[in-house]
Structures are given as structure tokens and as C-alpha cells.
Amino acid sequence: MNFLNITSARKAYRTPEGGFIHALDDVSLNVRNNEFLTLLGPSGCGKTTLLKCIAGFEDIDSGNISLEDQSLKGVPAHRRPFNTVFQNYALFPHLNISDNVGYGLDVARVPKKERADRVEEAMELVGLKGFGKREPNQLSGGQQQRVALARSLVLKPRVLLLDEPLSALDRKMRENMQIELKNLQNSVGITFVFVTHDQEEALAMSDRIAVVANGKVQQLATPTEIYDEPANAFVANFVGTSNIFTGKVVEQNGKNLKIETANERQVLATSDHFNLGDQVQVILRPEHMKLSPDGNEISECCIEGTVEASIFVGSEMHLHVNVGKGRTAIVHHRHNRGDEGERIEVGTDVKLYYSPNAAHLIELVED
């Protein structure tokens, strides 16, 4: 049985100019029970729209959303067993914290005793025991966020929808909350659909990630698959940094391919899926490329270029290497303490090495 299933959902908004924005353009997505699924995508790609359609605040124009094979068409938001943690928290300013948390129980007319126990339990779960009498505006952003979480969790929803709940927090707080949220999800056993545009957050927390762009799901896979085997150039660029070379397979030796790129460099890769003459894109992660200014000791696989810029980011040097015809490759070069002598100056000619296994090939799509 499918859990939360979205098939071919479409949603268009009319713009004031009279045109249409396809916020959801044939979205299909299968959310599994008890998983932590992240919707990751750039601003304006339709993440919030998808959440609203699941929660029932918006209707999809076509397609279907179903829970355990029961269609949710026509079910109003207040009857859906989903709860939302809003980006701005949306706490009720006229109610204190425990009444905010108890709100859903009050409207469901849960008996007083049970209400009190469940509110207490939920507040304890999010670490806000003893804050019940405070007003929402007397809490910090992080605390308000926990109240919003408790207010939803207290109702034991089938699915918790979270719309960029951490984006208003500072970096340290956000990292703490990432861990807490993940642990919480494990312990309460509720399905989380989590929206973010922060790829590190998505990689760190999710069981699976759906990368969304232009109203479409670009790829739905585990974090490692998304990172190591991006389905297309968009995913490769959006999640982490990628060097992408377009070219044609000019030599094939079993799995080993030699690809001639547009900037007249030859690169090596291994793949089962491509043959001589295929147009491909070669994706190389910056950390998989090593550089050795003189030697040839790693493998025969190399690209020559000139360092254009070198940026020190603490643990690494980020080198921008001109590899011909104005194309730039980015290389993350490990920086060891006291490596002053090895500092690479701008203008140095370098050779970039990588293991052919590290190169990921995707089909070149014309557009």
C-alpha cells in the first residue's frame, strides 16, 4: 500500500499580467511511512505550493494526492491528518504557550485531564517544560519554533509538513535543531516532509531528498545517491559544486571510456551505460580532483590548466583552474597546517588528476 502518494499534480497561478506560472508541473512523489523526506530546491520552485496542496490550503488543478490509497480530493485542511510547521511559526499571539500547544486538542474537545497531560508531554518532548504560562512574544526564535513543533506533534499527525522551519535561526542554532529534529522524528515515528533550500541541511537530515526545480521533481533519491549520482546537470550544480564537461565518447575499452570535451581536453571515465559516439556530460566533484604541479603519480587521467584564483576557506583551498577556452574547473585542495610552502600561486600551471571511477556520466540533453 502506498502511504502519501502524489501523482501528476499540476498547479498554475495566474499572474497579474495575465500569464500563468506553473508552480507544480506534473509532480509525482511517493512519500513512505515514517521517512524523513526533504523537498530541496531553489526559491520559487514550488516547494511551498506542494506543501499547501498536501495540507489542503490549495487545490491542485489536476492529478491526485492520496493517503493510503484514499484520495484526499475535496477533504478540507482541517480534516486532513497532517499538520504544518509554518516558516514564520504562526503562533497565536493572544494565547499563552500551553494554550497554543493545546489549541488543536481544544478544538477537538479533548477532555481536560487528557489535554493537560498531552500538552505537558509535548512541551517536554521539545524541551520547553515550564514555559506554559509565557506569551509567544516572550520567547526566542528557536523557542517559538519548538512551540510550533509541539503544537503540531501533540496531535500525532500522520504526516508533519515543515516549511523551512529552520531558516529564521542563526547558524549554530540551526545545526542544533537539525540534530534535534532528526532525533525527534526517529523517536515519534511520524513521517516528516521537510522543505528547505539549504542543500547541506537536506543532506544531513533526510532519508530521501526530492530535488525540485521549475515545478518538477528532478530527482528523488537518498542523499548519497543525489550527491554521487545526480540525475542531471541541475541536480549536480544545486547539490554541492560540480565541474561539468560536455563531450563525446571517442574511445571505448569495456567500461573505460575516453571523452573528448568541447574545450579540446580528453577525460577518462568508467560507465556501463554509454558507448562510442555518445554525447555525454562528465560530472566531477571538486574534492575528487587532486593536483600535483609536477608529478604524474596518481593515474594517467589528467586535465591541464592554469590557476586563476585561489580561495582559502579554512580546511581547504578552493582553486579555480582555467582548463582552456574560458572553462573553469573548481578544485578543493586539502590544506594542511604549516603547508605555507605548498601554497599555490595564481598563474601556476597545474595538472588535475582524478580516478576515472569518480567521474559520473550523464546523458547530454539538448534544450
Binding site: N83, A90, Y103, G104, D106, V107, A108, L155
Partner: protein, 301 residues
Amino acid sequence: MSSADTILKRKRRTLVLLLAPFSIMLSVFFLIPLGIMMVYSFLEPGLYGGVEWNWYPYNYGRIIGWPLNDFEEFEPIYLKIFLNSLQIALMTVICTFLLSYPAAFWVSRMKGAKKNFALFLITLPFFANLLVRIYAWLLLLRPTGFFNTVLQSAGLIMEPLDLLFNNFAVIIGMVYILTPFMFLPIYANVEKLDYSLVRASQDLGANPLQTFRRVILPLTAPGILGGSIIVFIPALGNFIVPSFLGGSKVQMTGNLIERSFLQSRDWPFGAALALLIMASVVILVVIQLNRQAKAEARGVS
């Protein structure tokens, strides 16, 4: 002296300077006249207007019930008129509220030029003279007026209806001139209502009625209360509307006050009536504000 002290002193001086114009105006044009009224209300009315400087509590006596027996009598008519005025004022508050509340939501959902136009329409009546506007209602409501003519020619009624010179006509007039005063505070409140809270309420399982009662109503209560107060007070003291649309049949306390000052030249009695109205307004408002504060302290649930 520490520098913090000097700063504090300078701040205080600035504050005094900034508040001076307002304080002076308030005391010259409000507090001092109010004091004069209070004093007058306890003085004996002069035979040909003005006052005699004698202690004379019977101005209040005439209204509430301890008259100076030989000369003036206790007339329950004053209390009746006062109660009728209260009733009219309350009805006015209720009607303006029922008109304004939904309209405020409607206008706040409009966009750009349309919204500005709607707000302009609401303030449009202010552009015409008050007397003209009230007089127009007289023409509309009288037996040969617009409504009766239309209803009669449509064959819905045989005889003209008595639309004029009763509480109904006065309330219509009051509602007509006071609706903007109810609308604007409610609108200001509704306009800043955070719609995501309505979503949150729905999301937590509240049906539309529960959402209205538990979220929308409490959050717009300040606007409703503000509007009610600034409609209730002028409605209670108004004398123009009842004298046009109420004729001689509907008297409001405002008419009595007007008459005692301008016609019978009994200033002390007029002052006593005015102060009684003021006292009742203050008491009602204080009670209401208290209840509100208590409700807020309890948490509206």
C-alpha cells in the same frame, strides 16, 4: 552630577517641551470648561438665564429624584429619555458593527486601486454637509418620500408606512452618519490580521466557525471595541439626528441639553444632564475595558 543624570534631565525637559502644546490646549479647552460645567451644575439657575451663586443640588434632583418640592418636580420623563437614548446608542453600535465588520474583511481583501476606491467611498459622505445628509433622509423617509412612493407604486403597501419621527428613523440616521467611525478602526485591525494564523488554526483541525470564534474574533476585538466606543459616545449625545428625524416624538438627552442651554437658558440643568451622560459613558467604558483586560488575562479560550 553624573552624565547619566544630565541626560535624563535633558530628556525630561524635551518631553515637557513636546507635550506642552497638547497639555495647554487640553486644559484650556477641555479641563477648564469641564470644571466650569461641574461648578455650574451645582448652582441655582438665574431667573433670566445665567446662575445665582447658591448651592443647589436639585438640578440633579430633577433628573434622578430629589426635587425641590414646591418649585420643580421630579419628572421620570428625563430618565425615560435617557434610557431611550442609551437604547438608540446601543442599537446604533450594533447596526454599525454588523455593517462594518464583514465590509472590513471584504475591503481588506481587495487589491490596489480598487481598495483605495472602496476606502474613498466610505469616507465620501464626510464631503457633504451633515445637515444636508440628514435632511436627505427626511426626504427619503417621509410619507410622500422615495421609499413609500416606490413601495406603493409596486403595490406592496396600500397606505404609506410611518418611517419618520420614530426610533427607527433616528437609528437609521445615526447609523448612516456613524458607520465610518465603526468601519475605520475595525478595518485597521482586520488589515493587519495575520492570515497565516487562520491557516494555522485550520491546520490544527479547527472548522471555519471555530477558527472565527477562537482566532479571528479575539484578534479583531480591539478594533471592535475602539469602534464601539467612538460610535457610542457621539450617538448618546447627538441632538441633530433626533431633532430632524425624530421630530417631537423622539427626544434624546442631547436634545434636552441643547434646549436647556439655548432655549430655556437653564445652564445649570443642562450642565447636570451633560455630566450625567459623561459619567454613564465613562462607567460603561471602564466596565468594558475591565472585562476585556480580564478576558485577556484569562486567555480567550
